[in-house]
């Protein structure tokens, strides 16, 4: 019986992978005509609180959230863009203020913020990121960790003018 269960699970995982591959396949041709903007992910804005402060580190740290911010079309890195980050961590739930923080991208469009370890909430270990500063269109991301034991997570933004 155990084998059947794992097969079912594998089947679902395979289905999801195929779906993801299909979606990225759809997105790829757009890349040829210029970098297409990132769409918000479903559930990305859950427990968002506008205006998280820019911090050196969220809480006691130990986990790294990183990524890049680029401009749609030419893919130019965007410096000094404010990225807000929040998650359910070992130091608080998603909606609690101490779970929120923000950071700015460097001249290469990269950002990196230390935060407490993310732990699974609602069945998946995931983080939330937002670009919501007005100059470009707002994007909410919700990346999922490959394993709950991961010590880092990445998310990448391609923004289009508002």
């Amino acid at each position: 019986m155990t084998t059947i269960i794992f097969n079912r699970r594998n089947l679902l995982a395979a289905g999801g992978t195929a779906l993801a591959a299909g979606i990225s396949g759809l997105l790829l041709p757009a890349r040829a005509a210029g970098l297409s903007p990132t769409s918000s992910m479903s559930g990305g804005s859950n427990n968002y609180q506008k205006g998280a402060a820019i911090v050196d580190r969220i809480g006691k740290g130990g986990f790294w959230m990183s990524g890049t911010v680029r401009r749609a079309g030419d893919g130019a890195p965007l410096a000094k863009q404010r990225i807000q980050i929040w998650a359910h961590t070992t130091e608080g739930q998603e909606h609690e203020p101490q779970s929120h923080g923000a950071t700015l991208t460097d001249k290469d469009g990269k950002f990196r913020l230390e935060m407490p370890q993310i732990i699974p909430i609602f069945g998946q270990p995931h983080g939330h990121l937002a670009y919501d500063s007005g100059e470009f269109q707002t994007v909410f991301l919700r990346p999922v960790m490959r394993s709950a034991r991961d010590k880092s997570l990445e998310a990448h933004f391609v923004l289009q003018p508002a």
Binding site: R8, N46, H95
Partner: protein, 211 residues
């Protein structure tokens, strides 16, 4: 010999349900969760356990609870299942309203959510039908097909939902419980010849089916 068999059946059933609950109670995840979230999670695990008991009761496989007593227990445990689902969904709603609303609207990013929501509606539908079948004058065969179709959704939905979740349940005990839920559901469907035309369940008086 008979006593040994009876004890074995009850011991296996108790272990299948209580071991996963016990192991979940030792999960390190609990440290980072609030009490309402913890209660909601355990309500879900208990619901999974009740879904294992239900087919066994209605098929009369549990010693001391066959026939009429089995059906009465099945009826009341069905009610308990509704309560656990309400606690599960309600507790998760309080923990994170936007995530729960996404799940209920089938817009959740998590692949397991729709399976859970479908199982929830199927459980509610069975409960409403069971409570009103006499009022509605449902024929036994109509009731049986409706209940069993919904039961398929419940069993498949709750098992897929549970298996895909990364939560407090320990993987091996969760897999074993889910396997037993599936096995019990399939065995009872086959034994009671649910979807066979004109069939009456084994060892059950067709007249007794009306209640």
């Amino acid at each position: 010999m008979r006593l040994a068999r009876v004890s074995l059946i009850w011991a296996v059933l108790a272990a299948a349900i209580l071991v996963p609950i016990g192991l979940a109670a030792t999960s390190p995840q609990l440290e980072w969760r609030g009490p309402i979230y913890i209660v909601a999670g355990f309500a879900g695990i208990i619901a999974l356990g009740l879904v294992l008991v239900q087919p066994l009761l209605i098929a009369g496989y549990l010693p001391g609870l066959s026939g009429y007593r089995g059906r009465r227990a099945h009826y009341w445990i069905g009610g308990a299942l509704v309560v656990t689902v309400v606690i599960h969904v309600g507790g998760l709603w309080i923990t994170s309203p936007p995530d729960m609303i996404d799940a209920l609207l089938f817009t959740s990013p998590t692949p397991f959510s729709p399976f859970g929501v479908i199982a929830m509606w199927a459980i509610f539908a069975v409960a409403v039908l069971a409570a009103t079948r006499q009022l509605l004058g449902l024929r036994p065969r109509t009731w049986r097909i409706a209940h069993m179709s919904l039961a398929v959704l419940i069993v498949v939905g709750i098992v897929v939902h549970g298996m895909l979740i990364e939560g407090t349940m320990e993987t091996m005990s969760k897999t074993a419980l889910c396997a037993l839920v599936l096995a019990a559901g399939i065995k009872v469907m086959v034994d009671l010849r649910v979807f066979r035309k004109g069939a009456t369940p084994r060892g059950e008086n067709p007249a007794g089916d009306a209640r």
